[in-house]
Symmetry: C2
Subunit: 149 residues, 2 copies
């Protein structure tokens, strides 16, 4: 790419942000309308749904989310009975989080929605491109340590 060609519309972080924002909008509307959840909250929910019992730190490490975000998300999820918190007996600093039945139900529902949504999003791409795109995105994220945004 020559000097003259480079501009905003070719700048990867910009493109990623635009695509991320655009592609998140409709899904956001669903978890918000249906369960009154915020972005941080469905992320925590999904992690618990996917990996089972986890601590806040573990979620933070996997999702690259700052601990204060998680703390607040868990608080709200617990208030609304999506999540239960139980102290670890051996180390009383740590708290194990798991989904309640209600949390499981919400997860199952949203998981399905997400799967369909993802299908729609990538419908235009061929199967190869779809795989390649996701691989590249993972690689990009991995390129960076853990900037706890």
């Amino acid at each position: 790419m020559s000097d003259a060609d480079f501009d905003l519309t070719q700048f990867l972080p910009y493109l990623l942000n635009q695509a991320a924002e655009a592609s998140s909008l409709e899904f956001q509307k669903i978890y918000k309308d249906r369960y009154g959840m915020l972005r941080t909250e469905w992320r925590v929910l999904f992690h618990l749904g996917l990996y089972g019992r986890m601590t806040a730190s573990e979620i933070g490490a996997r999702a690259n989310m700052h601990k204060t975000k998680i703390s607040r998300a868990v608080q709200r999820l617990a208030e609304r009975r999506f999540v239960t918190r139980t102290r670890d007996d051996a180390d009383r600093r740590v708290e194990h989080l798991s989904l309640t039945a209600q949390g499981q139900a919400a997860y199952a529902d949203l998981h399905q929605v997400a799967q369909r949504y993802d299908g729609d999003l990538t419908a235009g791409l061929g199967p190869d491109d779809r795989v390649a795109l996701k691989k590249m995105l993972v690689a990009l994220s991995a390129k960076f340590p853990a900037g706890f945004t």
Copy 2:
């Protein structure tokens, strides 16, 4: 992709968000440290640098940014003498925005940084993948009307 396989780490909006956040961090640090700018502000700066004189509405349409974001970004950019605002004589509602010399300088600098940064980010990809990735991201963004986030 079978039902059982689908999870968070394959969910496109999630992957996009992760990649966007991760890849934006270092660049964000630069425009913040060097010019005290926010994300909305460098975006406005880049639009003016790239397209020349524009109105706030035009920027909003292109960048898919809500008008209140732009209004406040322009306010700060004008205070710091990066941008000048001049009323349109024919239609006194509209304001034409352009970069000052200082704004041009900041744009030139950040443009260069962005170009290099983009190069680093995509260094791992082959030239074909690089083009394909950006094409797909543009297509994804275009898939959605204009949700004025």
